[in-house]
Symmetry: C2
């Protein structure tokens, strides 16, 4: 097992933090973290939960599971508390599901960098499938059908398809008609859908139609969510799984609870207190969430304009805080700089332009392509006070782009990409 | 994967909680939880850590790893911060180590009920070995040598031996001479030792000699600990691994960090704040810890007296809050009650005598034996105020056995076992 590596996004984050501590000026856009202050009442709930120092039920206490059931029920997914398991992040839940469900994994490219390594840990093969032109986060439905059949013809056993709705890394949301097509394939081919909806509450326009596969094929969809992205609580590690009602769902839930009991026991009690509050969605929390979503939308749109002006192709972001540009139109111009693939493009941006991004090959994309992920959530301020100011502006309905610290980092990013093009001649 | 079960101790805990809620009177001695109030300053650190909402390094922030390194260094184990990984409990660390290290697992019987299922999840075979007469938590050294050679002769590949120092379930500590013998076998047979020292700070007599295998064979010992038992923080999920210095240790640490990055990311930031405080061991915390250890010792000794008076064999407890009696001397007397193995003994005690214990077969012991684990830590009070009073008495140097609520539950337990014997005629 020698030579295992830290998950590339976490490794890049550690590397950049070390270089910044050494005084280097790097604009860190390589890590998918909503770097925003903790909403005050969440910190109060954390403190109030200190007395929850006993283990309690593996799946989570009744109050937190009921709150989470309410959260889903308000999203057109009627849910009982018994369908819910909470955990220290969504990662261990995704891992346990891959351990519990036999067969191979169908995975779109690019995709968040943890699905595939978890599949390998669970002894699964990973069948990579292209995303549609219009959005990321899902396999192209026709490619999904073909991929399942081709894998089976070769002796494979694809049984799970992961969807990321909305998507990391593309910052887009698959539209309802694409979801319906994928659900139809899942029915035809008897696939379990794992719908990772951890960015669901960060749609830039709340009117954007969101369809969960759990609304279409409820008996074959597990929904994953958590508070890391929507409430900027990545470091608090709070994740949730919603299992289907009925025998098949109950059996899977029991299997995952069993694995949970051996691998991590349960979500920390004080974090259960936090989750019980957050998933009950009181108005003050929803106000903050809406403000954060507006902030993400405004900054992601501004960076999108910079990238497109540079000459890159890039899907317009509609949710979360990511962009996934493609510099293929600039391949000829970039070649004299030694940039010929995603490795050299990431390196060049980091060393020559002081901008850290995550190269597409870390996300399962073709390393020959000139694609990478930008996390725009890292632009809300280097100092805590700036980040608080960013949120306050969004809450007050001000345009966050007018804040000096955000305008400044946007200008730096713009200069970096303009400079890239100038160097490229 | 149908038919997975929840880890039996957690399952029993849930079952008892449900029956108690329905009004049944059950003395719950089946779950290994230090059911004591949270020490005030720990709750303050939790609240103070709310701002740690970013992911940070997988292994833990520098401050917490330095505090943990200091903790080990004060225990004759010189340690650098880089040798430490913190995690949401010791379970995920034990799981990751089993995934990272190839080969099979050598495991004493009885042993804590999670080592073996984790080995199976990691695709390992489990070679079960008897414990010595005098103590649990370790294989008999001669049986270890023979077991390794027999397993290899049969095509197995035993590579890891787990020790539990002090032990759950027997409440005993393997003496230094036994540890040295085991370390010699580990050297001869090239085994990695995983030394689970999560009960180390709960020696009933602090003068009892404790030898960690990491003092004897440092390059081949990983030490595991956490705050669940010593500080009654099971529900907060804080665990630690200390890896050997040097190339081999560094490689294993890197492998475990890689697995951590894919399975759970990191320990929650507020819990890292708690751990940084706790592992720095300020005097007020050590006072509380010493008081808790005295409380555990006094109550475990009282229950030991009851069991021995009943006619059971039982090693005297010297650490933690467990007893592991053997009712073999009463087999003839118990047979008319339908008690003939550990299943029926556990059932009879629960249904007829209102006492919940964990049968030995759940801990890998022979199901034909009449052995079970008692967790005496469940006797400190049904109400929060009673538990606080138990700790206050121990801090004040009072005899906890004179507290009415503890005297009362001890009398109940005594009646249960006296009654068992009377029924048995």
């Amino acid at each position: 097992m020698a030579g295992r590596k830290i998950s590339p996004n976490l490794a890049l984050d550690q590397y950049i933090a070390e270089r910044q501590q050494q005084g280097e000026s790097i604009v860190h856009l390589g890590f998918g973290e909503a770097r925003l202050p903790v909403f005050g009442p969440l910190a109060q709930r954390l403190a109030a939960g200190a007395g929850r120092n006993t283990y309690g039920p593996v799946a989570g206490a009744a109050d937190v599971r009921e709150a989470v059931a309410g959260y889903f029920t308000r999203r057109r997914l009627p849910t009982e508390a018994d369908q819910i398991i909470v955990a220290p992040g969504s990662k261990p839940l995704l891992m346990a599901i891959q351990l519990a469900v036999p067969g191979d994994l169908l995975l779109h490219s690019p995709a968040w960098n943890t699905y595939a390594p978890q599949a390998e840990l669970a002894g699964k093969r990973v069948v990579r499938l292209p995303v549609p032109e219009e959005c990321g986060g899902v396999p192209d439905p026709a490619a999904l059908r073909d991929g399942v059949r081709a894998a089976r013809a070769e002796g494979g056993d694809p049984r799970i398809v992961v969807l990321t709705l909305p998507d990391n890394p593309t910052g887009t949301l698959a539209p309802p008609e694409v979801i319906r097509e994928i659900c139809a394939v899942a029915e035809e081919e008897d696939l379990l859908i794992v719908s990772d909806e951890i960015y669901r509450d960060l749609l830039h326009d709340p009117a954007l139609p969101f369809l969960s596969p759990a609304e279409v094929v409820p008996e074959r969809t597990v929904v994953i969510t958590g508070l890391s992205k929507s409430l900027a609580l990545g470091g608090w590690r709070i994740g949730v799984a919603r299992f289907p009602a009925g025998d098949r769902g109950t059996e899977l839930r029991d299997d995952v609870a069993s694995l949970a009991s051996e691998i991590w026991s349960t979500l920390a009690g004080p974090m259960q207190e936090v989750a019980a509050y957050a998933f009950s969605e009181p108005p003050e929390l929803l106000d903050r969430l809406a403000a954060d979503a507006r902030l993400h939308g405004a900054v992601a749109a501004a960076v999108h304009r910079i990238l497109v002006a540079t000459g890159a192709r890039c899907r317009p972001p509609t949710a979360g805080f990511y962009l996934y540009p493609d510099f293929e139109p600039l391949r000829g111009a970039l070649a004299p700089l030694g940039v010929q693939d995603s490795h050299t493009l990431q390196d060049h941006l980091l060393r020559e332009r002081g901008v850290a991004v995550l190269a597409g090959h870390h996300l399962g994309d073709d390393e020959k392509a000139l694609r990478f992920r930008i996390a725009t959530s890292m632009m809300y301020g280097a100092a805590e006070a700036e980040r608080a100011r960013s949120v306050a502006a969004a809450l007050a309905g001000e345009d966050p782009l007018t804040l000096p610290h955000i305008a400044s980092v946007l200008a730096t990013v713009e200069r970096a990409f303009t400079g890239l093009l100038a160097d490229a001649g």
